[in-house]
Symmetry: C2
């Protein structure tokens, strides 16, 4: 097994000229089947691969794709990232995954570093409220970018996410139909723009159903939602803030904290006879199945959001990085009935 230094050498060993070999690596189907066979034969024998730095220096467009999520320690984003990664690989691209870890500074640094990677495109789930909009706008101007999960008005070539109204209307209607209308439990200053849309949807749906909306806003900042939810729930329970026996949490991570607080307080949650409270939520977090009781929630259409995001990005890339107009695609939720409501 000789060590190959460069394409010149490999071309010589395979008996094919370098430009043809170069062409092969760009697109194996662009060469004659016989020469392709000869190259691939040599490839197995000598284990050569083009120097990606030399390749990317000379190609106008790299095969790199950046994937940026706001908080990777949230398994929801880890799952989505997994799907996005695999779709990129399947399409012959090279995904690079980054997490902003909830910090604006880091999000900016990631976008900064991403620029020098000269990616063909970027899939960005921004931090949301605390994102540096102007920095993101500048970034999007120079790199084809598709936003997902969190929409920022007008930024990126397209947005793909979930239809928050569909989430909340389904959970509210279900709870109302099978019991009492829920209060809405959320952070006072949510990081994610979806939270605001969910609150609005809650108020709308309650109005429409003829009930008075009741929003419980809890304190806390950052991304430790479970702890924030737990503390907020303890306080709300202590102060008897709930107007009915039903609560709808803005998202599952808050609900996880809420359920932990209920358990601590000996409050039985669920629809069984001995239960005094029903808790539902939104997202269908990977752990929602393992809360006690298991969490009734509105599930993201993970697969479609992820699939459409990469699809859209590929279209964008093939379109030269620009769309005629910015599109927003929203996928509806699927209600997942479990034990908590």
């Amino acid at each position: 097994m000789t060590k190959i230094k460069n394409m010149e050498e490999f071309a010589a060993l395979s008996g094919i000229s370098r430009p043809t070999v170069s062409k092969y690596f760009h697109d194996p189907d662009s060469v004659r089947p016989t020469t392709r066979a000869r190259i691939e034969e040599a490839l197995e024998q000598f284990d050569y691969r083009p120097n990606i730095y030399a390749v990317n220096q000379n190609r106008k467009l790299t095969k790199n794709i950046g994937i940026v999520v706001p908080y990777l320690a949230d398994p929801f984003f880890a799952e989505i990232a997994r799907y996005l990664e695999q779709s990129c690989i399947a399409a012959g691209y090279r995904p690079f995954l980054f997490s902003s870890h909830g910090e604006q500074k880091l999000e900016n640094e990631i976008l900064d570093g991403l620029q020098s990677l000269k990616p063909a495109g970027v899939l960005l789930a921004p931090l949301g409220r605390i994102s540096d909009k102007s920095a993101i706008e500048k970034f999007c101007a120079s790199v084809p970018t598709v936003l997902f999960d969190s929409n920022l008005d007008g930024l990126g070539a397209a947005f793909i996410g979930s239809d928050n109204f569909s989430f909340v209307s389904q959970t509210v209607e279900y709870m109302t139909r099978t019991g009492e209308p829920p209060s809405f439990f959320e952070m006072r200053t949510p990081a994610n723009p979806n939270a605001n849309k969910r609150r609005k949807a809650y108020v709308d749906v309650m109005d429409r159903l003829g009930f008075e909306p009741h929003v419980i806003k809890i304190e806390g900042t950052g991304w430790a939602f479970e702890e924030i939810g737990r503390k907020g729930a303890l306080k709300a329970l202590d102060e008897r803030k709930l107007r009915t026996d039903s609560v709808l949490c803005s998202n599952d991570r808050l609900a996880i904290g809420f359920l932990a607080a209920c358990f601590e307080q000996g409050i039985r949650v669920g629809r069984k006879d001995d239960c005094t409270l029903r808790v539902a939520s939104n997202d269908d977090h990977p752990f929602a199945k393992f809360t006690c009781p298991s969490l009734t929630t509105a599930a993201h259409d993970y697969d479609n959001v992820a699939a459409r995001s990469v699809e859209t990005l590929f279209e964008l890339i093939e379109n030269g990085g620009k769309f005629e107009s910015r599109t927003e695609t929203l996928f509806p939720a699927r209600l997942v009935l479990r034990e908590s409501a």
Copy 2:
């Protein structure tokens, strides 16, 4: 704001020769303070950055560092990855994060792709049992690699992880001291080598304390530990496999499933009077605080494992990629008492 094309152009605009500018980017302290100032002044004015592809093509060693974890949807690894990333950045390196998603094929592909990135070093938490040892060995031969979390005998230049004996001895001793000796709850064919060490430690400690070890092995493969734990627990409870009122789970994700199963069955877990079962575990998963009841567990020394891992890798890099001998560093656990035991 003119658009700069290359270093030549930037050098001209800053009034400094290109080789000096190049030197500056390699190490800002290697040029005279006055010239450094002039360069940085121009830098603010013109926003130029070297083309990383051209840079990396010519430098013997890149500033890239690969971070590979077995399963990023596990918040434990997400948290560790976060720390590793930040340490790399602080040291002037460029971390690239990859997850094997529990698949050998993917782990191999990641290492494969990593080679062409020509990283200065790699931090690798391998899949464990299902890792392709020969592939990893080959990789380590050509890239300076430090293993963490999961040890594979003899692979990598060093290993940094947790002392499984310390984990299990603390939990077993605690449970025994304050109640009955625990059974050990684990997967029959665990993916992670730590699991085997924990079982051995359990048997050892039980023997030493004069109790008969009792290991409950449950079925299931893959990385959906919570569901495996839940199903296994339902079966074990149904078949009355437990010899005492105490269970020690091999890891927290299994324990999360175990607790969910107990809740479903109406079994009260904890140390209160009305409880009939105590459950403890190992890892201190980020969600362990929010299980019902909250989980008593032995915590990894996250910070030290992560810090020592990057430290070791940097030493390795400065050492030219080779150590005299392979070292294994283990950090002890810290017992975290919560409500479940």
